[in-house]
Every structure is written in C-alpha cells, then in structure tokens.
C-alpha cells in the first residue's frame, strides 16, 4: 500500500483527530498512535504537525484540554489530555456526511464507485 502524504491529508487532519477522540479522552502521543495504527502505516505525516491542529481545534471549541493530573507512573514532562466537546461531536458527524458525499460523487466521476 502506498503512503498518504501530509499535503494529501491537509484539511482532513482535524477530522481524523476528532474521530480519534470519539472513543474517549486522549493525549497527543496516544492520538498519534491511534492515527498511525488506524492508517496501517500509510499516513506519512510529520508528528509535530499534530499539535498545531490540536491547538486550532481547541481554539474553535471543538475539543477541550486539561493537564494530566493522575499519577501515571511515567517520568518526564506533563501531558495534556484532550476530549471531544459537544460542538466537536457535531462537527465530526458533519465531516463524515461531507466525506460520504465526496466519495460518492468523486468515486462515480473516476469510475470507481464507493
């Protein structure tokens, strides 16, 4: 399977992060690992670019964040735990609908219906 570059993912990363948070709160590292495993190694995205996307989503009120407080047994810097807000959940549903429509229309045009 080929890789999907960062340029191809532009505009979709926010939706992918929202989808990753749908199952419950998570910090940056775990969000990345979820994306990586769900993408089967096909997502060729630089890991640092996750954080600007998280900050944009937080600024728009689609996710909320707080510092990790419970003892996790790990040493090192603190991590922030992100969770999906109600607005973020609505945006995720809208993004899914848009994606289905996009795939149906473009798939038909390309002669490869979904």
């Amino acid at each position: 399977m080929g890789t999907i570059s960062g340029d191809q993912l532009r505009g979709h990363l926010e939706g992918l992060i929202l989808a990753s948070l749908e199952d419950g709160p998570s910090h940056g590292w775990d969000i990345w690992r979820n994306l990586e495993s769900a993408g089967g190694g096909a997502l060729a995205l630089k890991e640092g670019s996750l954080y600007p996307a998280l900050y944009r989503l937080e600024r728009e009120g689609l996710i909320a964040a707080r510092w990790e407080t419970k003892a996790t047994g790990r040493a090192g810097p603190r991590r922030r735990v992100y969770r999906l807000s109600a607005k973020g959940r609505r945006r995720l549903h809208a993004a899914r609908d848009q994606w289905r429509q996009f795939v149906a229309v473009v798939g038909n045009l390309l002669g490869a219906p979904a």
Binding site: W29, E47, G48, Y51, P52, Y55, R59, G76, P77, R80
Partner: protein, 269 residues
C-alpha cells in the same frame, strides 16, 4: 533529554505568543518527543540515534514553528509583535527577577511620560490652557490628573511586582524548609507580605479615588463609599497578591528553565 529540549526551544522561542502559551507548547512537544525517543531507543538500542530519529520524525523545525505561530489567536499575535522600542520591556536572558521588575516599570513609566507629554503639548497647542467653559477642568488640570494616575499606577505595579517576588522566594523557602522553625519563619514572611500587599492596594485605591475626586468631584464617592472601597481593596489585596505570587512562581520556574537554554553554542549530536 537536553537535546530534545533544545530542539523544542528552537521551535518555540521565536513564536510570538504569551509565555503561558509557549510554556504549554514546550511541555507538550517535549512530552511527545520524549515518547518518540523512548520508542526509537527500544528499537535501535542506541540513545544518540534514537534522539536523532525522534527529531527527524517530528518534522522540520521552521515548518512546525510557522504552523504553531498560525495556531496562536490573532489578538495575541498582534499584541506581542516586537515593536520598535518595546524591546527594553521584555525580560533579558539571565536577568534577575527583581532587576527585571524595577527596570521594566521604570522604562514603562518613562515611555508613558514621554508619550503623555507629547500628547499634552498637542492638546495645549490646540486648545490653550484655559477651560473651554465655566466649571469644566482646564487643560493643565487634566494633565496633572493623568500624571498623578500614572505615578500611582507605576508605583503600585512596581511595589506589587517586588512583593510578588518576595512572596515567591518565601514560598520557595517554605517548600524547601527542612525544619519546622524554618517553615514557620517562611509562613510568617508570607503573612507579612500579604498584609503589606493589602495596605499597599488600599492606599493605591484611596490615592486613585482622591485623584479622581480632585479632577472631577464624582457624587458617589462620598466618605462612606470611600472607606468601604478602601476596606474592600485591603481585604482583597493580600489574597490576590498571594494568588499572583503562586502563579508567578510556577511561570518563573518553567520560564527560567527553558530560557536559560543556550541555542547558539549547543549543537545536536
């Protein structure tokens, strides 16, 4: 770990954002890079190669910096543009907190005086020095009022800054105290600074009300309200100052830790 911190600092230091936001970025990016380096080390069994691989996977520093800068709200970005002349107001690398507090307040006061004097000269040149209508305050009266409030404001912020720093040191002493006596002494120092903060804020609030009353007598500042407001300021002043000192301590610790990293002379392995 230090190499990872230096990489993070190279990304974050030039970003125009508040110190609070930058500290958050630093901690989060470092946490992620640390996890990556641990994962790479588990794979390669070579610490140096693991750090290099983690940095490579993390992405180009310049591109990441641009993306992070774009994620900062526009108001904050504009507010922190390095305007000509504002450089002296920023904290220099390695500058002691007391020196920074005094210097930045003196520079701020000087800037405000120069700006205000130019404004005053323009007003006097346009309107003259006499009241425009009977009963209205004259221009020199207005200038005196604004200068008085500037002095009160700058004096208060300087002393509040110094008291916050003194409280921060007392909090440090209390946290590191090894004997009950040392802990008690630090607690007494904190209480004295809180009391001093209450007195200072009450005096500043009274002086400000007196200056307003001198400029334009305001009906609601009766002697009864004057004392209630002064007492309220005294009651709130100490706790507010304590809260500020706790925040200042947390920010200062993180800030000094990162800002002391020398990005020019240290090279990655």
């Amino acid at each position: 770990m230090n190499e990872l911190k230096i990489h993070v600092e190279r990304v974050v230091r030039p970003i125009r954002a508040s110190n609070r936001r930058k500290c958050r970025m630093r901690e989060e990016l470092l946490a992620h890079l640390t996890c990556m380096a641990e994962q790479e080390q588990h794979r390669t069994k070579d610490a140096g190669a693991a750090v290099a691989a983690a940095i490579r996977r993390f992405g180009d520093a310049d591109a990441l910096r641009d993306e992070l800068q774009a994620s900062v709200p526009v108001v904050e970005r504009i507010g922190l543009v390095d305007l000509v002349g504002l450089g002296p107001m920023r904290r220099r690398q390695g500058e002691a907190p007391v020196r920074y507090i005094v210097r930045s307040n003196i520079v701020g006061f000087a800037f405000a005086c120069v700006g205000f004097s130019l404004f005053a000269l323009a007003i006097v040149a346009i309107f003259g020095q006499r009241p425009q209508r009977l009963g209205q305050p004259g221009t020199l009266h207005l200038l005196g009022f604004v200068f008085a409030t500037l002095v009160i404001q700058c004096g208060t912020t300087t002393v509040i800054g110094l008291l916050s720093e003194a409280m921060r040191r007392a909090l440090d002493s209390r946290a590191s105290a090894t004997s009950p006596r040392a802990k008690w002494t630090a607690t007494v120092r904190l209480a004295v600074y809180c009391l001093a903060g209450s007195v200072l804020i009450a005096v500043a609030s009274a002086a400000l009300m007196a200056a307003i009353d001198w400029f334009v007598p305001i009906p609601f500042i009766t002697p009864v309200y004057f004392w209630w407001i002064t007492l309220g300021a005294a009651a709130l002043g100490g706790p507010l100052l304590f809260w500020q000192a706790v925040n200042w301590r947390a920010t200062n610790q993180r800030f000094e830790d990162w800002e002391s990293l020398d990005l020019e002379t240290t090279h990655l392995a």
